[in-house]
């Protein structure tokens, strides 16, 4: 099974909102704790190491893009 990147929610805004609202009123540290727990819960629900690795790779590409952008700005 490959990582699905097509839109899976009927109402994507509701899903985004649900996550955002979960973080409302939390300190940065609490938010980070929440994210950590959420990632583990969702990863277990997916239950497929290949999909998880693909997801990590896709997410991590943001770090790469961000550092490239930073470099370009510095130049």
């Amino acid at each position: 099974m490959a990582l699905s990147t097509s839109s899976n929610f009927a109402k994507p805004d509701d899903a985004f909102r649900a996550i955002v609202e979960a973080h409302r009123g939390l300190s940065e540290a609490q938010s980070a704790d929440l994210d950590a727990a959420l990632v583990l819960v969702l990863a277990n629900h997916i239950g497929d190491l290949d999909v998880l690795r693909e997801a990590i790779e896709l997410a991590k590409r943001r770090m790469l893009d961000a550092s490239l952008q930073q470099q370009q700005q510095q130049q």
């Binding site: 704790d33 950590a36 990632v39 583990l40 277990n44």
Partner: protein, 537 residues
């Protein structure tokens, strides 16, 4: 330690009277009389080899050190004739409990089924294990154990190794066809071979205290994350024989070893843990550890085994047990090569199989260590989430890593013959043989592992049901289960554990690993599998 001998004498050997140009020749020299070297020497001697076993000291080391010996190690020691003595003295256990703070998160059973001769683990002080092994060595005239013999130089020649050995009487030389270095983590032979020993060093310090006391804790492995008596760190409790308890406490990376080790500083910590002060210290030790292995376990005619070849963190009982697996792996191969029954290239499979096992042990124990001592704030955060989720979810419990305990590796090895038939279970080629309870025709109980030993621990065919399986090739033992004259598998567990049907046959290696399996083997297929497993291609 009263009933065991731990101090031994140096004795001059006639080899020392020979001129250096006329050094004595020996087929195999084992260096290091720890659990690995002693076990290897016994296995080789039982297979008919003459072994010289050298140790630089004249006594068994102090302290309990490795205390958890696995089922697999006990089965190996059964083959060496000392399994029962170890089990009789040891503390048998199979249940582990994990606590977070004051409450229990979960428990696991490492051997939840009946019908095995040996338990999942025993706890036994390493000095007892070594003393029993030395006793066994002394029953075997083919082992020449030389205390206070320290290898000072090693020279690889075409067909032998020349060793220069320092003794209280001065140095002497011997020649060996093969040398097996079992001389521990600080192996001097490894340095003489010029081998790299690179890996990861861990900064966290751990304190071991062996405490003598009367206590009502059950014989289980208890592990705490963030216990009330040792806030923010981890702790481990194990029972040993003689009313001794092993307590393992994680310290801060910046703790001062000299200060931490002082009994007056250890005592209050332990008292907080136990809730009382009625105990005495047997042994206190502080350690840091590394996870690393040699690139190659074989350097010319020098073969490395145990801690000399690989080191792991102590969480998971993977140090001594993997060293013993090294010994049982190399013993039968060396024996065959020395007899000229197999080519020297068979020894390469020792490196292939055991270096992969070392990688697995390093991976598992590194993960445990990282879980216990997270290296970044985010890692600590993820661990906190796992521990918290473990309270209410099954997946969280299974993610908590308080040490994954040693199980035998499954080898991806050129010695295996790949399955061609369909199997729903049973050990696949490269896996170690599971035990099962059986009875002889006269009703006498016998475990499968015992039947294997009775066959001489050589290549053995394990065949199920009436005569459909082909006859075993020459010099291959046969264990027949079921049929008109085989062992009776009354509980059906042997059949079940080997996914057997009438005619099913397994070819077992001399170390009890599966080389090949067939639903209905032909003689040709068995011969081919045997040749492959013996390294004759």
């Amino acid at each position: 330690m009263a009933q065991t001998q731990t101090q031994f004498g140096y004795r001059r050997h006639p080899d020392q009277d020979r001129a250096g140009t006329n050094a004595a020749d020996h087929p195999v020299v084992v260096v290091g009389a720890g659990p690995v070297g002693l076990s290897l020497a016994i296995d080789l001697a039982q297979r008919g080899q003459s072994v010289v076993l050298l140790d630089d000291a004249d006594r068994i080391g102090e302290g309990s050190r490795a205390i958890c010996f696995s089922k697999r190690s006990l089965e190996f020691w059964d083959r060496l004739g000392i399994g029962q003595r170890m089990v009789d003295k040891g503390v048998v256990w199979s249940v582990g409990k994990i606590f977070h703070g004051a409450s229990q998160l979960y428990q696991f059973n490492l051997l939840p089924e009946e019908g095995h001769k040996r338990p999942a683990f025993i706890n036994l002080q390493q000095f007892y294990a070594e003393a029993y092994l030395v006793d066994r060595v002394e029953q075997l005239p083919d082992i020449d154990l030389r205390w206070c013999n320290k290898v000072g130089a090693l020279e690889q020649r075409n067909d032998h190794v020349a060793l220069t050995i320092a003794t209280p009487d001065g140095p002497y030389k011997i020649h060996a066809n093969f040398v097996v270095a079992c001389d521990g983590a600080r192996s001097s032979l490894r340095q003489m071979a010029g081998a790299e020993f690179a890996g990861q060093a861990f900064e966290d310090q751990f304190l071991i205290a062996d405490v003598k006391m009367t206590a009502e804790f059950p014989t289980e492995r208890w592990f705490w994350f963030d216990p009330p008596f040792h806030a923010g760190r981890s702790a481990l409790l194990h029972k040993q024989p003689d009313g001794i308890w092993r307590i393992d406490l994680q310290l801060n990376p910046d703790a001062d070893p000299a200060v931490e080790k002082l009994p007056e500083n250890v005592r209050p910590r332990i008292a907080r843990m136990l809730g009382h002060d009625k105990f005495d210290f047997e042994w206190i030790s502080l350690y840091k550890f590394q996870c690393r292995r040699m690139d190659k376990f074989i350097h010319g005619r020098v073969i490395f085994a145990g801690d000399a070849a690989h080191q792991v963190s102590p969480f998971g009982a993977r140090g001594a047990n993997s060293g013993l697996e090294d010994a049982e792996n190399i013993a039968w191969k060396l024996d065959r090569v020395l007899r000229g029954c197999s080519p020297e290239s068979l020894l390469e499979s020792y490196h292939t199989e055991r270096s992969a096992a070392a990688d697995e042990n390093i991976r598992e124990s590194t993960r445990s260590t990282d879980f216990m001592a997270p290296v970044s704030r985010q890692e600590a955060r993820l661990r906190k989430a796992v521990l918290s989720l473990a309270k209410e979810t099954e997946f969280g419990k299974r993610m908590v890593n308080g040490g994954r305990l040693s199980v035998p590796s499954v080898y991806e090895t050129p010695l295996s013959t790949a399955d061609r038939d369909a199997w729903r279970g049973g050990p696949r080629p490269g896996a170690s043989m599971p035990d099962a309870p059986m009875t002889e025709r006269n009703g006498k109980a016998m475990f499968l592992t015992e039947a294997f030993i009775k066959q001489g621990s050589g290549f053995t065919m394990l065949a199920f049901g009436n005569g459909a399986a082909a006859e075993a090739p020459d010099r291959v033992g046969t264990i027949r289960v079921g049929g008109d004259d085989g062992f009776v598998d009354a509980a059906g567990l042997a059949g079940q554990r080997y996914d057997a049907e009438p005619g099913t046959a397994y070819l077992l290696r001399p170390d009890g690993y599966v080389a090949a399996r067939f639903r209905h083997p032909t003689r040709t297929a068995l011969d081919a599998a045997l040749a492959r497993a013996a390294g004759i291609n």
